[in-house]
Structures are given as structure tokens and as C-alpha cells.
């Protein structure tokens, strides 16, 4: 084992447990990973943090206070999660093809995975070049760990819809993936006695694996409402059940769970929810998100939705991923910075359809 790998191990041992990691420990206060962070794999190409500024970055990181969940970034005009993004040339460790459409890609990018909070995303691309030109955003699905609990990478849940996702479906272990992250503003993870209801439509399950873990670590009573067109669209249900999450399944064709849309059991549950505080989280097709936001508003409950607008850079540079919000006199804000997670009541839904 090389010295870099040993250092990586030492860092992993120092890593707090999930309960502390999510929210209570400043993930950004952790030192940036060294260039050889992807222990044992293609050491030289592992990260492309700009040469020459490493020392300055580390100094800034050390100076940062340890107990703030978000740091205000002067001049940005908003706050962003503490962890600064890194860009890694990561090895694809595995590609689990779940069906003809869905696959889960396991990516060796521990430096990103370790800093990712529920709801954050990465911008990925198979290789730098012209086709396709731009990276695509993906929610971080799972944080991967080895037998001893050390973070080894992250996974992406992908559904074939275009050229990029088709290419990701065909990827083989050993292939490389450019992976920039973690990006965006995460979900607000609630504490007991507030209950958490996650509402997922199809591939919109993606941000909820990490959220369920974070909620579980805090002992939050959690439920997943998970809908798909058909039973073939529903995955990883046992993962959530093992975490103690109640799972309510629906399919539009009735092949699994309740027949119909996920909003039907959600509405019934909201009607019977009682007085205990409740937080909703939703990710899926825009019409579903809008319906969930309306149901939550009618029931007087908070909901955070994870949107997925077309994105150019993921860093706030291109202004293409804007979402119209109702505060501040109806204005466009960048979903890569202020989102992808938005308070449901904040979104101008009429402008999203």
C-alpha cells in the first residue's frame, strides 16, 4: 500500500459516523483530498484541482469555522453548502443494469462521496470531448462503503432517456467518468419528533437513499411513497426497508403495490396525518412535484422538491438552469446553486410546465 493510500485510510478512520456527518459536522472543514485520493487507481489522474492553488485552498479551509452548516459566500448573494466541489476522473467500479432502462453506476469518487449531503448532485461526462459536449447532472444515489464502513465512492441511478444515459447504461467496470461535485443545496434533514415523508416518482428515487440514511441516523420516523409506471420501474425497496423506512408502492399499471399514482395514497395519508409535525420531500416528474406541492400546501405541510432543469455547468456560470421563484417579486434563480432542492411553496409552478 502506498503512502497516499495509507493517508486515505487514516482519513477514513477519522470520518465521523453518519449521524454526525450529516449536518452536524462541517463537511467542508475536512481537508481537500490529495491528488492521489482515489487510493490505488490511476493516481496521477485522480483529481484536477488546479495546480498551484492547493496550499491556498488548504489554508482557507483550515481557517473556516467548524460549526457552521452553510457558509455565506461573499458576493454570491446566497449561501451554499460548506463542501467545495472537486472534479475527479473516477473509475467506474460496477454497472448494475436493473432492467432495459435503468442502471446503477458505482463510481470510485470517495472525495466527492464523503462530502455529499442528501439532495446534492454531481455533473458527469464519460470523457472530455465534443460529443456530447456538456456534462449532465445526476443526483447522488448511494454513498458506497467498504466492509469497515469507509467511504469508497458513490452511485448514480440512471434511466435511459437520451444519448448520455444510453452511454452510461453501456458503461463497463474500469471505464472512467469525469465527476464534479458535490453541487447544489441539499435537503433540510429534520429531527424527531418531526416525521419525514419522501415521495419519489420513477428515477426520482435517486436523492432519497442518502436522505433516508441521514433521517435514519437521527431516528426520524420515515415513510417512502414510491410510484412508477410499472413494477419494472421500482428499485431498491429492501434498502429502504432495512433502514426502517415504511414503503408505500404504487404503479400506474397495477403490477406492483396500489394501482394509480403515488399522489393517491399520499393524499389519504395527509388527510389522516394528525397533529404531529411532518416534513415532505419529493423528487420525480414535474407534474408529480407540482401535485405533491399542492397537496402539501392544502394540508399546511412543508415540502422540499428536488427539480431537474436543463443544466449547462452546475456551478452558476451559465445561467441556463433557472427556476422562477415567487419570493423577491418573481425572479429567476439558478437551480445549480439555490437548488436543485427548493421549498415547494417557493416555486412558480405555472412557469415550470
Amino acid at each position: 500500500m502506498g503512502s497516499c493510500e495509507r493517508k486515505a485510510r487514516r482519513r477514513n478512520r477519522r470520518e465521523p459516523t453518519d449521524a454526525r456527518w450529516e449536518g452536524r459536522v462541517d463537511a467542508g472543514n475536512e481537508r481537500l483530498p490529495p491528488l492521489c485520493d482515489l487510493a490505488g487507481t490511476r493516481l496521477k489522474s485522480a483529481a484536477i484541482v488546479i495546480r498551484g492553488v492547493r496550499g491556498a485552498q488548504d489554508a482557507r479551509e483550515r481557517r473556516r469555522p467548524t460549526d457552521c452548516r452553510r457558509r455565506p459566500v461573499a458576493a454570491l448573494g446566497y449561501t451554499r453548502p460548506v463542501a467545495r466541489p472537486v472534479d475527479v476522473d473516477a473509475r467506474i467500479a460496477a454497472n448494475h443494469r436493473l432492467s432495459d432502462a435503468y442502471n446503477i453506476l458505482e463510481i470510485e469518487a470517495p472525495s466527492i462521496a464523503r462530502r455529499t449531503r442528501p439532495g446534492q448532485f454531481v455533473m458527469v461526462k464519460r470523457a472530455l470531448g465534443c460529443e456530447p459536449l456538456l456534462r449532465r447532472p445526476f443526483s447522488v444515489f448511494e454513498i458506497l462503503r467498504d466492509a469497515r464502513g469507509a467511504v469508497t465512492g458513490l452511485s448514480l441511478l440512471s434511466k435511459q432517456v437520451g444519448a448520455v444515459t444510453r452511454d452510461l447504461f453501456r458503461a463497463e467496470p474500469g471505464d472512467r467518468l469525469r465527476c464534479l461535485g458535490p453541487l447544489g443545496s441539499p435537503f433540510t434533514v429534520v429531527d424527531p419528533p418531526t416525521r419525514a415523508w419522501m415521495v419519489a416518482g420513477g428515477v426520482g428515487l435517486a436523492p432519497f437513499a442518502t436522505l433516508a440514511e441521514a433521517l435514519g441516523a437521527r431516528g426520524v420516523d420515515s415513510t417512502l411513497f414510491y410510484g412508477g409506471r410499472s413494477g419494472d420501474d421500482l428499485y431498491r425497496v429492501p434498502f429502504f426497508e432495512r433502514l426502517g423506512v415504511r414503503v408505500v408502492l404504487t404503479t400506474e399499471d397495477g403490477t406492483r403495490g396500489e394501482a394509480g399514482r403515488v399522489t393517491a395514497p399520499l393524499k389519504r395519508a395527509l388527510d389522516a396525518a394528525g397533529a404531529r409535525p411532518l416534513m415532505l420531500y419529493a423528487c420525480g416528474p414535474t407534474p408529480m412535484l407540482r401535485a405533491v406541492a399542492e397537496l402539501a400546501a392544502d394540508a399546511g405541510r412543508r415540502v422540499e422538491v428536488s427539480l431537474e432543469p436543463v443544466m449547462g455547468c452546475g456551478l452558476g456560470g451559465c445561467y441556463s438552469c433557472v427556476v422562477r421563484v415567487l419570493d423577491g417579486g418573481a425572479r429567476f434563480v439558478r437551480a445549480c446553486l439555490e437548488g436543485p432542492v427548493f421549498e415547494g411553496s417557493r416555486v412558480s409552478w405555472a412557469d415550470l410546465t
Binding site: I50, A74, L76, D87, C130, C313, G317, S320, F332
Partner: protein
Amino acid sequence: MGRPDLSVEIAGLRLANPLIAASGCFGYGVEYADLVDLSALGAIAVKGLFLEAREGHAPPRIVETPSGMLNAIGLQGVGVRAFVADKLPDLRARRAVVIVNICGSTVEEYAEIARILSDADGVAAIEINISCPNIDEGGHTFGCSLAGVQDVVGAVRKATTLPIFPKLTPNVTDVAAIAVAAENAGADAVSLVNTFLAMAIDVETRRPRLSNVVGGLSGPAIRPIAVRMVYECSNAVRIPVIGMGGIASARDVLEFLIAGASAVQVGTANFEDPGIWPKLRDGVVDYLTRHGHAAVGELVGTVDLSARETAWVSS
């Protein structure tokens, strides 16, 4: 031989290297501070600013096309006063060389913004956007006629002593004539090209793929046209040319320099790879070393046309 000198001088402005972040592709610079050492760039051309804040166009604002992308952002922005108050101090603290891209609906608006920026601390130069294809008023309209270029550049020239770089549109018949008009009106340099007016349609729905119907094409797809235009303009004017259009590698940087650009801007490629800057710089250094050049300035405008006739005869 020591390490080659990468610094370039444009209108009295000394840049540490010829690599400039292109306006509209780098936010206000501060967005990238986590990933890029802003002081290591030659300069940053910040997102175009009007006098007042602007909302921009409804999404979808971008669409990817072969080796390129269309955008119709519509110059969403905070307005020049908010920029000076909220963004500029941060850029100054990071020791960034700031070129402020300005837009106006009227000649007077351009001049007013230039006056405000002249009084601000930390503005190295003004890039005059007379080329944005995505807005109805101002911008592109001025940049498409010799008189319009003369009016805007002349008015800004009177309003400021800062170096001024009109950014030219390629959507004209003779871009070199526009460059000459800019030079005659007092420009210190010209930057080109802005994006090419373009359109993409979803054939299934038969709808335009941008809410604005048309947008500007950028990326490697436009590079050969941009190189040609930089070549034409640098032969037509005495002031420096800042070249851009689809640069995605050090070879592309070199191509623009050899065509006649004194510095280059990189935009779309930064979306794909925010870590591109040191790669570009190192590639240029390698080339200079390999070809025995002591300074990057030695490359500018060195395209060799002498072999042209021989090559044609032999082919």
C-alpha cells in the same frame, strides 16, 4: 532557456497570460472561486451588465447541438451598481483582473455604465457588448452597422479613460469593416467572435428548442469560422485582437494566437471542464519551449502563408 514569458500587453494592460474567461460563461467570476484560482487567469470578462437588473429569458435557455450549444439566456444580470457593490470587492480581494462586459439599450446607457465603472475600484477594462444576438433592443443592433458601432464606441470612449474592447458579432457580412469602425471610434482592442445566431427545432413537437426561438451558437463547432474572422480582423486593424470561439485545448489557443489574436477568451469549454485553465497554460508553455520561443507574444499573427502555392500545386 528559462520558462517562456506568458504575459501579454493589451492597450497598456499587462495580463499574466493570454487566457481570459469569456463573458457569459463564467458568471461574475466568484462562482468559480472554489475551483479556479481567479488570480491565475489572464483576466475575467464578467457576465454582461446593463444599468439595471435584468430577468433574462424563460427556460429552456440552452440546448446542446453537434460540437456546440445554443444559448438564449437573455442577459440575466444584477445591474452595474449591484455588481460594483456586491461582486467587485470580492473579485478585487481575489486579485482577479476584471474586464467588465457592458450592454445597453441606448447609446447613453452604455456611456452611463462606463462612467459608473470608471469610478469603481478594480475594473481593468471594459468590454462593450455590441453583439449579443439574444435581445431585441441594443446590443446586436448596434454591432451590425458601422454607424451603430461608431456611436456606441465613441460614446463610451468619451465617458471613460479605461481601456475599451468592443466585442464584435460574427453575424455580419464583413466583420473586418466593423473592426475598423471600432478602431476609428477609439477602441483600444476588439474582441471577437460572439455567438452565431442559430436555431434548433424539436421535430416531434415542431417547437423551437429555446424559449426565445433563436439563440447563439458557441463551442468547437464555430471555431474554424472564428479563426478566419480573427485572421481577417487582425489584418485590418492596428489595435490588438482578442480571439475566441470554441477554444477547448491549448492547440486551439495557439491557433488563434497564430491567426493574429493577442489574447484569447474561453467560454463553453469551461462549462465542460472548469479545470481547463492550467491545461491550456501548460500546453502553451510546452509549445513555446518546443519551438524555442521566449515569449507568447512572438506567436501573434505568425501564420505562414508562404507554403500555400506549393501545397496547392502538389495536391
